[in-house]
């Protein structure tokens, strides 16, 4: 096959032109985030505090979540940064790369844009190749900027060698996930499928690492996420993981290229099932359609939440073993007498699970906006559907989904804890501890609905707010964030059972806020023009 790569460079220019806004934004946010955290850590943690933190973190629950604590003997700022932050930075970079690759390969193909490109004298693999060249360039810029900025902030122990390795690791792992997304873009005939499978792979790698870090290191080494942590940034500065990941990326890219060269345009390799020939009774209404459109997302996430809950629950057994062995941890537990270790741990898991639940909830709440952008909402609205019902339908679905997702988490946790630690907790407690998060979830749904009604162009801002909450809750456990920052997120007002007790006043206020936001969104939506 001659000229398989012809015109790759021209297509690369096209991608860069199309990406002139999106990617620079991602890069700036990522660099600001990763470098900002490094500065923050330097300011907030004196040596003794770091040392204490290292001991606090060195327990199976935290190791499952954050990875092994390297350099605990001398937990420098660099060691702390590399141990706690690199995993999350790499995962965020992975997300950027997955979206980037699918956007320029399968999504473009699905929309028929690649067809025209391919009818021109461009090579069979040129489009994929252009996306890969762009990904290499983007990850290189990101890696170099990360290295450069980490070095120039001049934080003690964040040295040149470690900064260089951090940037290189970001570059390599970004490319590996770009390659994984490229393969799934060949396998799946839809961009949804390609993104879904890629995220599944990311999730599986995270779980492998979690399981591996607790009791089977081989699993961690097989997961690129576990592998990259073993670089021991700012401690040993081991380049081997980065080199291995680069080789893996090259190999996975080769698979993607081979698949792309062989397959027909528009076709996937994984089979697509035929659908039903008639709409079910349920679907023959506007609400039924809305339900149908979000059903698969919801079911998938209910399973994900259940499994995540169960996998967190399943490490409870190890926690108790650990507690009996560690005087430090016993002391810690003793400090909040009356609560079992499992309960303490669940309180933290619950807050993280509630944040996870936000992802499907925002997808559902923002579904109408994406339908509108694709010109599908107008077809529905041209029928006898009052406009307000259309948006209200998605809002109701999101509220119902919030309840179901929290129940799935509670159930997953309960069953797993029951299995490893019979009698360790009660379903009633777990239900209360999870459902107490609902008002905070509702506020976010309300914001999504309000934006859909009032400022449809910038609905994605709510994802930024979600990311903010994520970091305040998550990092708030490690860094001592000022209260006023934490309080900008509705999650700050949710009592963490059983350590806190339920206080109905803030919950009521949050619920009222959620209702007002949603109602306002509906009213504004009724009045505004369709917007593409």
């Amino acid at each position: 096959m001659r000229g398989s790569f012809d015109n790759s460079l021209n297509l690369t220019k096209l991608i860069i032109k199309r990406e002139r806004l999106m990617t620079p934004l991602w890069i700036i946010m990522l660099v600001l985030f990763s470098v900002g955290i490094a500065v923050g850590m330097g300011d907030m943690f004196p040596a003794e505090a770091r040392q204490a933190l290292a001991e606090t973190l060195n327990n199976p629950a935290m190791v499952a979540m954050m990875g092994p604590i390297f350099g605990a003997d001398n937990f420098t700022i660099g060691a702390m940064y590399g141990t706690l932050m690199m995993l999350w930075i790499v995962m965020t970079v992975a997300v950027m790369n997955i979206f980037f690759i699918v956007r320029h390969t399968r999504a473009d193909e699905e929309r028929g844009r690649v067809e025209v490109i391919r009818s021109l004298p461009t090579g069979r693999i040129a489009n994929l190749n252009a996306a890969v060249i762009s990904a290499v360039a983007i990850n290189a810029v990101l890696g170099l900027l990360t290295s450069f900025c980490l070095y120039i902030i001049n934080v003690e122990t964040i040295d040149l060698a470690g900064s260089l390795l951090s940037g290189a690791a970001v570059f390599a792992s970004g490319l590996l996930f770009a390659a994984i997304a490229a393969v799934f873009s060949q396998l799946s005939a839809s961009s949804r499928g390609a993104v879904g499978y890629s995220f599944l792979a990311l999730g599986v790698f995270y779980m492998m690492r979690a399981a591996g870090d607790i009791n089977a290191e081989i699993l961690s080494l097989l997961s690129p996420l576990g592998l990259v942590q073993r670089s021991q940034f700012f401690i040993e500065n081991n380049w081997l993981p980065t080199i291995v990941i680069l080789i893996q990326a090259a190999a996975v890219f080769a698979i993607a290229y081979t698949l792309n060269a062989k397959r027909d345009l528009g076709q996937g390799i994984l089979p697509a099932r035929p659908g039903r020939s008639e709409a079910s009774k349920m679907m023959r209404s506007q609400f039924g359609l809305s339900f149908r459109l979000v059903k698969n997302t919801l079911i998938t996430w209910l399973i994900v939440m259940f499994l995540l809950g169960a996998s967190y629950g399943s490490i409870m057994g190890d926690i108790d073993t650990f507690v009996s062995e560690s005087e430090f941890y016993q002391a810690l537990i003793g400090a909040v007498e009356g609560f079992s270790t499992a309960e303490m741990f669940t309180s933290m898991v619950n807050s993280i699970m509630a944040l996870m639940a936000m992802i499907p909830l925002l997808i559902i709440a923002l579904k109408l906006r994406s339908e509108e952008k694709e010109h599908r909402a107008e077809v529905v609205l041209s029928g006898v559907v009052p406009r307000i019902n259309h948006l209200a339908g998605y809002a109701i679905l999101a509220f119902i989904a919030s309840l179901l997702l929290q129940l799935a988490t509670a159930l997953g946790l309960f069953l797993a804890i029951e299995a490893v630690l019979p009698g360790g907790t009660t379903l009633g407690f777990l239900l209360r501890a999870n459902l107490v998060y609902l008002p905070a979830l509702w506020v976010k749904i309300g914001i999504a609905i309000l934006l859909t009604g009032l400022l449809p162009k910038i609905t994605s801002v709510v994802w930024g707010y979600f990311a903010f909450s994520f970091f305040t809750v998550f990092l708030g456990r490690i860094l001592n964030l000022p209260n006023w920052i934490a309080n900008l997120s509705p999650f700050a007002f949710i009592p963490e059972l059983p350590v806190d007790s339920i206080n109905y006043a803030p919950l009521t206020v949050l619920t009222v806020i959620a209702v007002v936001l949603t109602a306002a969104g509906l009213v504004f939506y009724r009045k505004r023009d369709m917007d593409y």
């Binding site: 001659r2 398989s4 021209n10 297509l11 490109i117 009818s119 021109l120 069979r124 528009g266 593409y532």
Partner: protein
């Protein structure tokens, strides 16, 4: 580039394409010679687009082969595409690029930028190239692809229902563009549902149904295969006409007899009716539409 009049631009030989268990093309044979406008007609799902995509080398034949300019459509796709211009029926463009940028991109990927022709066509098709593609209607997106195609100096134009979004005025401009290319000796493969367009533009027509070419030839040749509609008024009532072979849909209304007759039975019919003193006779040659219907209508036909 040597040009031999009458050489084969496109040759499709016993082409079969399956998607899983679904057979999209089932032994298609098709030849297009240089300087010819070939019309490919057929109902939805008959295999028009699959045939075209195989010709473009973006689908790989399950069996049989397709060649363009004597080169293999799959293996030599890039070489072939240097001399092909393609317009899909459903044009989807990048929302944050302008129409002008996209036209230049398409021309740029060919390596030649024909600024004068491009601007002339922009004017003819009345397209504002400064608008972002997300604001274009279907017709305007189609114009972008058409302008990029006709501004190129391709030797073969492959047009897959290119006018489905155009208004009648633009449709006319499109027809002029096709005729202009034809006069330059360029080949055109036009897949279309607009039969008047095919009738006006095409030298030869192929009818595709269920993945097979069921008929191919010039319009005149095809007409011989079908029936002519006649209506006759005679002084004496016509008798025994129903017994003549090849007569269909016989009707009588106030002394006017109308029927359809197979083209090859025409002589018998004319000599029969001559005996009844013909006062008025009208005959209508079959339209492409009748040909089309005869092949598609599962219950109809011979």
């Amino acid at each position: 580039m040597t040009k031999k009049i009458g050489s084969e631009t496109v040759k499709i030989n016993n082409l079969t394409k399956r998607f899983g268990s679904f057979t999209a093309l089932n032994g298609v044979n098709l030849t297009i010679t240089e300087g010819e406008v070939f019309g490919l007609i057929g109902p939805n799902g008959a295999g028009k687009t699959t045939t075209i995509r195989t010709l473009l080398g973006i689908l790989q034949a399950t069996s049989g082969n397709a060649s363009v300019f004597g080169m293999d459509a799959w293996k030599d796709a890039v070489e072939i595409h240097k001399r092909i211009a393609y317009v899909p029926g459903d044009v989807n463009l990048w929302p944050n690029l302008t129409g002008g940028e996209v036209i230049d991109l398409f021309l740029g990927l060919r390596g030649k930028h024909e600024k004068i022709r491009r601007d002339k066509l922009l004017k003819a098709f009345d397209l504002d190239p400064t608008k972002k593609c997300r604001t274009y209607s279907k017709g305007n997106r189609q114009k972008v692809a058409l302008i990029a195609a006709f501004a190129s100096d391709a030797d073969l134009f492959i047009l897959d229902e290119p006018t489905s979004g155009l208004d009648p005025l633009m449709e006319r401009i499109f027809q002029e563009c096709v005729l202009e290319q034809k006069n330059k000796g360029k080949g055109v493969l036009l897949s279309s549902h607009i039969l008047s367009e095919v009738e006006r533009l095409c030298d030869r027509v192929g009818i595709i149904r269920e993945g097979k070419i069921v008929e191919t030839g010039t319009l005149d040749e095809l007409r011989h295969l079908t029936r002519i509609t006649m209506s006759i008024e005679t002084e004496r009532p016509i008798t025994d006409i129903a017994q003549i072979a090849g007569i269909h849909d016989l009707m009588e209304d106030q002394g006017i007899v109308s029927f359809q007759v197979d083209a090859d039975e025409m002589a018998n019919v004319v000599s029969h009716i001559a005996r009844f003193k013909v006062k008025k006779i009208e005959s209508n040659p079959p339209k492409l539409e009748d040909l089309f219907m005869r092949h598609y209508d599962i219950n109809g036909g011979a």
